[in-house]
């Protein structure tokens, strides 16, 4: 599956766009779950960056970027589990997942 010569910049731009999309999703949607989805997207964008830099970096055999990506995937899974758990717990107490309604912590 080796591509003939896609410049690194393209991957970085793709990552940036994906990150922006994720951020937009996290910032604009009401539903808490959607925010989590947006965050997942952002994490994926970061992973893409890591992999891309690993691929084009001076020492790919050192596997640093790859490892970083793999670990971040694992961490993302954990994050999703806990986040969704929290969402469910919150839903149990206040029958909603609407973030605009969740402002108990207002100072």
């Amino acid at each position: 599956m080796t591509g003939f010569a896609t410049p690194l910049a393209n991957y970085l731009l793709l990552a940036a766009l994906l990150f922006a999309i994720g951020l937009a999703g996290a910032l604009t949607r009401r539903n808490a779950i959607m925010v989590l989805i947006g965050i997942e997207l952002m994490l994926n964008a970061a992973n893409l960056n890591l992999i891309a830099f690993w691929r084009y970096g001076p020492h790919p055999e050192a596997l640093t970027g790859m490892m970083f990506a793999i670990f971040s995937i694992a961490v993302a899974a954990a994050e999703a589990a806990v986040g969704l758990g929290l969402v469910i717990a919150i839903y149990r107490h206040t029958n909603t997942t609407d973030l605009d309604k969740m402002n108990r912590m207002k100072g």
Partner: protein
């Protein structure tokens, strides 16, 4: 204990000496364990105490055998294990233990008698709810006593000495709910402390002179050549050498423990404790500790004496001993409490021992100590058995005719009594007392003690006869009929009785095995031992004295059981004398009007000082500070608080302003985060532009 062993430096000392510390350590450990037990765990407690003490007895026998083997090998065994406990500066506080003939004999005696009494008290204390506590104290006492016996360092000896005193206090006041018991305990404690002060002074002096606390340390100890030489060379007050003075100080301590005149007052009261305690502590072992102490430091007393002559210290010891012997015997005649009679006889016998030490050296005194330990323990246990059988009745006038009800007790008691009186040839008491009398007879300084001691012997025989007549002859004058005691009590009696007889055999003039053993001489059996000039005559006189006492006692009290309320026979004859005897020659009263009165007066003075002088000063200081505090309070309220409140308000308002940023909406935070990232990244990039 581990480091003790690792400290132990002397490669010469044998395995036995190395592990000698186990003998006291076992009972102490046992008492510690028992202290952790719950109250109802009686069997466990008893087994722990008895088991540990029997182990100690075993080890003691081993040690004794070791010394014996060395002696028969023809050399004087004295093995020490010493180690430095605390170092400070160039000096070190040394502790250590010694194994020699003296220690060995005492070890066996203490652990053996102690074991018998432990077994006895299983029966005697069977119905006491504080059974476990009792055995805890008892084993602690046994451990401490054994410690006293083996200790080779003045300090260790003093520690164990005080521990012994403490346990004695605890056990006398064992039935603390009885006010008399509590008082007796206090009395015993304070009186013995009084002696111990002098003892401590002696120790300090000795340490300052010799620079070592060890008694024997391969020639460097304070009881060995060089140190003694220095001590005797220098002169203390009134013509005493330093050695003698120190010896007397130590003797004061010994007198306190051994109830010598004038510190004997606590011992009769100590009979408030349970009878096994009286037997173990106040007849056999603890009171003997004083005698043992003198024997232990004998070189100190003896140094500087010409051959055949004596030293001032020893003279003092002798006179006090003799005086005590007669004095206590006199009082014993006038007592009606079975245990008090025995207590006073103990005091007088201790007097004998002291006199023996002063007159004839270690062996004589110690021999009487050992024999006395057995038969006096026997007598006390017998008394306990009697009391037990008579339902806690202690007044001899309310007993009588028990030889039918309690035959075993009677027989054993009679044996003990005869031994105490020194009934000729058969009983051990005869030989040991005879040794003392002989020594007194040959004493170069004065004949006084001899006559005193002979008179004491007469009295002894008399009051013992009186007691036995009251208790065992005549007819029953008590309330409930008496009953024989259980096996666990009578069996120890039998064993003790056996020893009360046979022990005499090892100290006869014909075969003075004991003396030889203590002094490390060879011993041979020869009838010529009796052939010494005057010996037979002396034996004859002393026997006659004893018979006289017995006959007199029987003639006066005989088989006629008088009414408890009736006057005593002697009271008829000489009321004034009787009153004196009954009231213990007014010693307590004397102390009351002198010592106690002085203390009370001093207490009042101190009280007045406290209230008026010191109290006044303290009150003044308190008042000043109170004033100051008021001042500060005003400052606080009007100044500091004001400022503080102000700042608090400011803070809260500021917090309110900041809080308005906290919308509580996740997305706001996210936005702010993102904006921050954007700005930072922008700054970074702008800065890094070429």
């Amino acid at each position: 204990m581990q480091e003790m062993i690792s400290f132990a430096p002397s490669s010469t000392s044998s395995m036995v000496a190395q592990y000698l510390w186990l003998i006291p350590a076992l009972p102490v450990a046992a008492s510690g364990l028992i202290a952790l037990l719950k109250q109802p765990k009686r069997r466990t407690a008893a087994w722990l105490a008895i088991g540990s003490l029997s182990l100690s007895l075993l080890l003691s026998l081993v040690a004794f055998g070791h010394v014996l083997a060395g002696w028969t090998g023809g050399m004087v065994v004295r093995e020490t294990v010493n180690f430095a406990w605390i170092h400070f500066g160039y000096t070190a506080v040394d502790l250590g233990w010694v194994l020699d003939s003296l220690a060995a004999v005492m070890l066996v005696m203490v652990s053996f008698v102690g074991l018998l009494i432990f077994i006895y008290s299983v029966g005697y204390m069977a119905h006491d709810e504080n059974f476990t506590r009792f055995f805890c104290f008892m084993s602690l006492f046994a451990g401490a006593m054994l410690g006293v016996v083996i200790s080779n360092s003045m300090l260790l000896l003093f520690m164990c000495w005080e521990l012994v005193g403490l346990t004695s206090y605890l056990l006398i006041g064992f039935w603390y709910q009885k006010p008399s018991a509590a008082a007796a305990a206090k009395k015993a404690f304070i009186t013995t402390r009084f002696g111990d002060i002098f003892f401590l002074l002696g120790i300090v002096w000795l340490f300052s002179q010799t620079g070592t606390l060890l008694l024997y340390n391969h020639g460097a100890g304070s009881l060995e050549g060089m140190a003694l030489g220095n001590l005797v060379a220098q002169h203390a007050a009134l013509g005493l050498s330093a050695a003698g003075a120190i010896g007397l100080l130590i003797f004061a301590g010994a007198a306190g423990k051994s109830g010598q005149l004038p510190l004997h007052v606590w011992l009769p009261d100590a009979m408030e404790g349970p009878t096994p305690v009286s037997a173990l502590i106040h007849a056999a072992t603890m009171v003997a500790a004083g005698v043992f102490l003198i024997a232990r430091v004998y070189p100190l007393m003896q140094i500087g004496a010409q051959p055949g002559g004596t030293t001032a210290a020893l003279t003092v010891v002798t006179w006090i001993g003799a005086a005590t012997a007669v004095f206590a015997a006199l009082i014993a005649v006038g007592q009606n409490d079975i245990k008090r009679i025995l207590a006073y006889s103990t005091v007088s016998q201790l007097g004998y021992m002291m006199a023996g030490l002063g007159l004839g050296g270690v062996a004589v005194g110690m021999f009487h100590l050992i024999t006395h330990a057995f038969f006096k323990a026997l007598l006390f246990l017998g008394a306990g058995s009697v009391i037990h059988g008579c339902h806690e009745e202690q007044d001899v006038r309310r007993m009588g005719g028990l030889k039918a009800d309690m035959p075993l007790t009677f027989v054993t008691y009679a044996i003990g009594m005869l031994a105490l009186c020194g009934f000729p040839l058969i009983f051990s008491g005869f030989w040991s007392k005879d040794g003392i009398l002989e020594a007194a007879k040959h004493w170069s300084v004065a004949k006084g003690p001899f006559y005193l001691l002979v008179f004491g012997a007469l009295l002894t025989a008399f009051y013992m006869t009186r007691q036995v007549c009251y208790v065992f002859f005549g007819h029953w004058r008590g309330h409930h009929p008496a009953h024989e005691s259980p096996k666990v009590m009578t069996v120890p009696l039998a064993i003790l009785a056996f020893f009360a007889i046979v022990l005499g055999a090892i100290g006869t003039p014909a075969w003075p095995w004991f003396h030889a053993f203590l002094e490390g001489r060879a011993v041979t059996f020869s009838w010529h031992g009796f052939a010494e000039p005057g010996l037979l005559a002396l034996m004859l006189t002393s026997s006659l004295v004893v018979f006289l006492g017995l006959v007199l006692g029987w003639w006066i009290y005989g088989d006629k059981s008088p009414k408890p309320e009736a006057q005593d026979a002697l009271e008829h004859a000489a009321p004034w004398l009787w009153a004196g005897l009954r009231d213990r020659l007014y010693i307590d009263e004397f102390y009351g009007v002198t010592v106690l009165a002085f203390y009370a007066w001093w207490g009042r003075v101190a009280d007045w000082l406290d209230r008026r002088v010191w109290g006044g000063i303290v009150a003044a200081v308190a008042w000043i500070f109170g004033l100051w505090a008021q001042l500060v309070r005003l400052l606080d309220i009007h100044w500091v608080d004001g400022g503080f409140d102000k700042s608090c308000e400011e803070l809260s308002t500021g917090g309110g302003i900041l809080a308005s940023v906290q919308t509580g909406r996740v997305q706001n935070y996210l936005r702010i985060l993102a904006v921050a990232v954007v700005v930072l990244a922008a700054i970074l990039l702008w800065g890094s532009r070429p």
